[in-house]
């Protein structure tokens, strides 16, 4: 009997758990990455590899300890080493004496047979094709519900009257969505969750600062990998919009919600006409789109030594200059000290707020009253 597990990426595990259960699998839930995950991951991976490889390795070892024997993950195309990580994980785990099976999903559009074969492996209940499609649709709906709830917290947290309310309420409503197991229940739980979040007492008069977050997918989607940067920014009174959600990423090119209806690829084209692997081009394209939508700043998140993001990082100053938008980059690694990040975030928020206030009042507010000009 397969005992299935998968990487931990934010709250998405709730949808994957339901989908895999529906298909008749026993699921071992990946724990939220912790110090233990990190220690295990760092111990058994090459030092020069990037952070996602290490966190995933830690997660796999933790779930294997709990009895998992099948790891479901994604592959990837294009020149980014993360596409090969599933192979590397498998080799290392086998070397360590864990005879796990690795089921790797490649992009279905390019590798349809891989997709069909993998789904077949994960379908011990031998559901009909129609039933499988329904399960996937339902899982997708749950993923959307989770993403929508998270998106709303990004808007409400900076405006909450009592610090911490949003995070607390969010934890509560996630359970509602988690417990919904039919499509109609999911839709109902989502509506109730959004309503509950809207009820949080807010101050709408606050200075409205908006930041777009771009970068590599794993460090964007897993809050423990980015030291909960979105929550920190929210507590500093900043509304964040993340360029990547699992649902959005999976749809990929159907990017319709931007003002000018241009795709990320088109937006990045003047700066980087090539796919350089990972999410380097997306980071540039999304920065352009956020700038056009008059955001106040951009934060780029990248795993330490990530080549695509390093390339993007060296191009971003040009975008920053052309669109007059500040960009701050964080390279993330196993370092858990948050003080350095907080200092930079606070300074970045000060920068954006003062710039905005100045634009609003056309007054020289940097100089304290009484200063000699």
């Amino acid at each position: 009997m397969r005992k299935v597990t998968f990487p931990h990426m934010g709250e998405s595990y709730r949808a994957f758990k339901m989908l895999l259960n529906d298909l008749g699998n026993e699921v071992i839930l990946p724990p939220r990455p912790s110090l233990k995950t990190l220690n295990l991951g760092v111990q058994f991976t090459p030092e020069f590899a990037c952070f996602p490889l290490k966190v995933l390795m830690g997660t796999y070892l933790e779930t294997i300890e709990k009895g998992a024997n099948t790891l479901v993950t994604t592959g990837g195309v294009g020149p980014c080493r993360a596409g090969l990580y599933s192979e590397l994980h498998k080799k290392i785990l086998h070397d360590l004496g864990h005879p796990i099976e690795m089921i790797v999903f490649e992009p279905p559009r390019l590798y349809p047979f891989n997709f069909i074969r993998n789904v077949h492996k994960l379908n011990p209940g031998r559901l009909s094709i129609k039933a499988i499609i329904n399960c996937i649709k339902k899982g997708w709906r749950k993923l959307q519900a989770l993403d929508n709830a998270e998106k709303l917290t990004h808007i409400i947290r900076p405006r909450e009257l009592k610090k911490g309310t949003t995070t607390q309420k969010y934890k509560q409503v996630l359970e509602w969505i988690d417990n919904a197991n039919t499509t109609s229940d999911i839709i109902e739980a989502e509506a109730a969750a959004l309503e509950e979040l809207h009820k949080i007492p807010q101050d709408h008069g606050r200075l409205d600062v908006k930041v777009g977050i771009v970068g590599e997918i794993y460090v964007l989607l897993e809050p423990t990998a980015n030291l909960e940067i979105e929550e920190t920014l929210g507590n500093l009174g900043v509304e964040v919009e993340r360029s990547m959600f699992l649902t959005g990423w999976a749809r990929d090119n159907t990017w319709k919600e931007t003002v000018e209806g241009m795709t990320v690829k088109d937006a990045a084209h003047p700066y980087l006409p090539e796919l350089i692997g990972g999410h380097g081009r997306d980071s540039i394209g999304n920065t352009v789109l956020y700038a056009k939508r008059k955001f106040d700043g951009i934060i780029q998140l990248a795993p330490f030594t990530c080549i695509p993001e390093i390339v993007a990082r060296t191009i971003l100053p040009a975008v920053s200059k052309d669109y007059n938008i500040p960009v701050l980059t964080f390279f993330l690694d196993e370092q858990t000290g948050k003080a350095g990040m907080n200092t930079r975030l606070e300074a970045f928020v000060d920068l954006m707020k003062r710039k905005k206030l100045k634009k609003q009042h056309q007054a020289d507010i940097l100089l304290p009253s009484g200063a000699i000009i």
């Binding site: 233990k36 948050k338 009484g370």
Partner: protein, 321 residues
């Protein structure tokens, strides 16, 4: 007389400044933190209290630097601000048209870009010794030269030797190699100054538009060798402002003033007497979840006044007021 207190608790130095209403610096202190921020803050408060005229009333306190939260709860700060904002505020007070601030401290260095009086960009390195004061300190003591004379010695160089600057390990082995080949000390020191500046500009200054007026501050700004190396590398005149070593503290004092005057609040300052209280710190591992956060806490007499290190609000202390 009314005045404001600014405290900058950095990794290497702890600075205190008292500034009056008009912006004049009444007293300034530059102390070595020596890894003991609590004791240093207490000693600093005691020392600076003795420098003050009678009847001086502190009507606001600001803290900054990596130890700003610690200092904040100890003294009862009105404003706790990051050092980037603090440095920018102080520099634009002394040189109102400043467009670039180079700041090199003990363990970190920053570049701050301002346009029309507001910060538009900044960068900061963390504890990479190649490009900070502690490496200079270390080399000075290896060569047996007081750090205060280090910069002047560099000026005596007539033929600077090239020292690798990307990493202190490379730099030090290069320095030793050059010294064993017989190069004179001033040339080696000047080479080191140039290496440090090159590393700073390539690393922190990368992609930044450095426009005049350029202000150079932080502890390392006292080093004329570095200042000259910057001037050569940038072909620009560089200003080292008065009180360059305590600019962060001045910024903190100014921000405290801004906050209190604009908001019509009264200060939370506990008074200089806290230097007589006993403080001790402790830490423990929280077992509430698999994160196992290391929680550090500080006691004032027997009361916990601050806690840090948690990734959730479980151990937060509700501040009154």
């Amino acid at each position: 007389m009314q005045a404001y207190l600014g405290i900058d608790v950095g990794s290497v130095s702890t600075n205190l400044v008292i500034q009056d209403q008009a912006g004049k610096i009444i007293a300034g202190l530059y102390l070595r933190t020596k890894g003991r921020p609590v004791e240093t803050i207490q000693a600093g408060l005691q020392q600076i209290a003795q420098l003050l005229p009678e009847q001086l009333q502190i009507c606001g306190v600001g803290t900054t630097g990596s130890g700003r939260y610690l200092a904040g709860v100890m003294v009862g700060a009105d404003v706790v601000k990051n050092e980037i904002t603090a440095h920018a505020v102080a520099a634009s007070y002394f040189i109102p048209k400043v467009q670039t601030i180079l700041e090199i401290g003990g363990q970190d260095s920053k570049i701050i870009i301002l346009r029309d009086g507001i910060v538009t960009d900044f960068a900061m390195n963390t504890v990479c010794a190649a490009g900070t004061g502690s490496f200079l300190d270390q080399q000075a003591s290896r060569l047996g030269i007081p750090i205060t004379e280090f910069g002047n010695l560099a000026l005596k160089s007539c033929n600077p030797v090239r020292i690798a600057g990307r990493c202190t390990v490379f730099a030090e082995s290069d320095m030793i190699h050059k010294q064993q080949m017989g190069h004179p000390i001033p040339d080696i020191i000047n080479g080191l100054c140039e290496a440090l500046v090159r590393n700073y500009l390539n690393n922190i200054g990368k992609g930044k538009e450095i426009l005049a007026p350029v202000v150079f501050q932080g502890g390392v700004a006292a080093n004329t060798g570095i200042k000259m190396a910057f001037e050569r590398a940038l072909s620009m005149e560089i200003t080292v402002p008065p009180h360059h070593d305590v600019m962060g503290a001045i910024g903190a004092a100014m921000l405290a003033k801004e906050e209190l005057v604009d908001m019509h609040k009264t200060t939370r300052f506990k008074g200089f007497s806290i230097s007589g209280l006993t403080y001790h710190t402790g830490s423990f591992d929280c077992n509430g979840c698999p994160n196992n956060c290391e929680i550090a806490q500080i006691y004032e007499e027997d009361n916990v006044i601050g806690r840090w290190g948690a990734r959730c609000p479980r151990w937060d202390i509700i501040q009154e007021g």
